[in-house]
Symmetry: C2
Subunit: 395 residues, 2 copies
């Protein structure tokens, strides 16, 4: 396997270069700032709408690369990120409520707003990483203010989000929320480590919330549970997203490594990474299934059996992190399995970036590189994280 580690490193580093070439070359809007995120296989703009999650994530990616990977510490990358940040600061956020929109026109007019916290979370991540890249204090100040807002919406009062109170809506704890907050805390502390004390209580709350999703004697992760950590009725209660559980797994593992918390480490590896990989991997065709029902009813989501790029990016990060932490060679074998599937199905060596959406049997179903929910984020985050881990492993 030692020779494969070298191979992984070389192919991933090259793949990162190709990916960033793709976005740097095709996505910049020189007229209004921001990025075109609907790009065809070879980088043509097929829709000029700007999706806020993806705008913010592209800024984060540019700044993180600038901050952490020597060959990307380039003025043109920082400047493109700044142009994107200016665009978002000007148009994405309602200055009164701090709610952010979901979709903007190319000029920045609001097209759609979502009644959740995720546009705001990615906006915060962009601000915070930009603060680090630019050295300019105002970004981090705004990021911390946005964090107050988000925590208020999640833990105290979500009236601002505009969700109508429905009598029959079952109170639900969704895995996405504490997982996202853990990610934000990690982001803010990575810029300012003194924030640890400030967010200690919130971190504890997130961990308690996340643990509620470990169900059925620890064998499965359910996306939605009751606030008491009980199973919910119906399809919603039985829903599993293996790729999402695995992503939560490496967030938790990273936290556990940083803080030296062995219980969380064990839970992250066994419950959030290994189990979901085993029940999520398609034994017939390969690749990770998207949605599953814990009792094996047919899921009702049309995309349940598709293979999506991001789940594979997250699984690659997770298994390399587990291998690096434990030295267990079974983990690098699983990494290799996911790597081989991904590089024979998702990767476009000719044009750069990954295809995003495969049929169950591995054929490309939609061949665009950027779309309403796919931008410059999961692929380069995986590439930069794995490149770094593999470099450290080589030492």
């Amino acid at each position: 396997m030692a020779s494969r580690l070298v191979e992984f490193y070389e192919r991933i580093a090259k793949d990162l270069d190709r990916t960033m070439d793709f976005w740097l070359k095709h996505s910049h809007d020189e007229t209004y700032g921001g990025f075109f995120n609907c790009l065809s296989k070879d980088g043509k703009v097929y829709d000029r709408l700007k999706h806020v999650w993806l705008q913010a994530r592209q800024i984060w990616t540019y700044c993180r690369l600038y901050n952490e990977v020597d060959r990307f510490r380039r003025q043109d990358i920082l400047e493109a990120a700044l142009k994107g940040m200016n665009f978002l600061q000007k148009y994405a956020k309602d200055p009164q409520t701090w709610k952010c929109h979901l979709v903007l026109t190319e000029e920045g007019k609001a097209v759609k707003t979502q009644r959740s916290i995720f546009s705001e979370c990615f906006y915060l991540m962009a601000l915070s990483e930009m603060g680090r890249a630019s050295g300019e204090k105002t970004y981090m100040i705004e990021a911390l203010q946005m964090m107050e807002k988000i925590v208020h919406w999640v833990r105290e009062d979500d009236t601002d989000l505009g969700r109508p109170a429905m009598e029959g809506a079952v109170p639900t704890s969704s895995l996405a929320v504490p997982m996202m907050l853990l990610c934000l805390i990690d982001q803010l502390e990575s810029v300012d480590p003194t924030l640890e004390t400030k967010y200690r209580d919130l971190t504890g709350w997130c961990l308690t919330e996340v643990k509620k999703h470990v169900q059925r004697d620890g064998t499965v992760i359910l996306e939605n549970v009751s606030p008491d950590g009980e199973e919910l009725p119906g399809c919603m209660g039985r829903l599993m997203l293996p790729g999402h559980s695995i992503e939560a797994g490496w967030f938790l593992l990273q936290y556990a490594i940083t803080k030296g918390n062995d219980d969380v480490k064990k839970m992250a590896i066994d419950k959030f990474i290994l189990n979901p990989f085993h029940y999520g991997w398609d034994q017939t065709h390969g690749g990770l299934m998207y949605f599953l029902d814990v009792d094996n009813w047919s899921p009702t989501q049309l995309e349940w059996d598709m293979k999506l790029w991001w789940a594979h990016n997250e699984a690659l990060i997770a298994f390399l992190m587990v291998y690096k932490e434990t030295g267990d060679t079974k983990m690098i074998d699983i990494f290799a399995k996911i790597f081989d599937y991904s590089y024979s199905h998702f990767v476009d060596e000719e044009n750069g970036e990954w295809y995003g959406y495969l049929n169950r049997n591995g054929e490309i179903s939609m061949d665009f590189k950027g779309g309403p929910w796919k931008g410059c984020f999961h692929v380069p985050r995986y590439q930069m994280m794995c490149e770094k881990m593999l470099k450290e492993l080589a030492k």
Copy 2:
């Protein structure tokens, strides 16, 4: 082909019996009234939520069968429909605004409301057909009041729908709206023909709106156009739904036949039925594609290349209607092609009803018979309409 007409008739009649057995046996909620609409392949309830579109459509189907097909003029069918109607009248509609919810709990508590007019439209259809079945005047009175509300929301002021005004949202004329209204007018006039005068102006407006969607020298139907009938930018503007265009086609053809309007008849057949069938039929695997992009960009909807049951139901109705009207044998050949595909892929002769969702290559992707968007409607409506047309053709 004469022998095939007999075969079609016999198989469809038998299929209708099997379909209705399925719903009559598995879907009735004897405790709260209404119907369980999330049913597995063999009729087991896998989610107890009640989806209002499907509740209303099941009432309509029961009543239409009771009203028009002798062997279904049964007291138990009328009573089940009445129980469903009572449930909806009690729980689906906000008594102040007349907005209807989208999803209810099994007891009738509201779970979700949609900011559009479709729950209300199907509620109206149920009321109106129930009025005819029960002979009770109050249903039709409520249906006509609901019609006033819907027309007000569509043509005058949609504030009640609760859609926020977005600066960047492009004014759009969606094919679904005038098509739905045409269907409602036909429904109401089928119960009370004297309404024709009342709705003459509205019918004219619907036809004008529908015609705007015929684009590119009459070769394609676009789902979304500007209020002036111009193409819109981006994915939304390029979107085609062949099955939906064909459904609109038979609505228009039925209208044209009733009113003796040859221009509308020609438009319905050539532009709304034949063209979309030709560009929508998958030449490789058979079946109708779900979403297409008029300029052949990759659609961004995950389900674009799936084969959905309802598109095939609508196409079967459309081509049999065209054949019956024109006598053109090419039309019954197309009907036969869709029929053969459907009966070798969608139909479950063992358990009754049709599977709803196939992969592009025709494999069953999700094997439930009822789900959040599939209930007792498209399949039996196709069966009763085609059974009737085939009986008339045999004469």
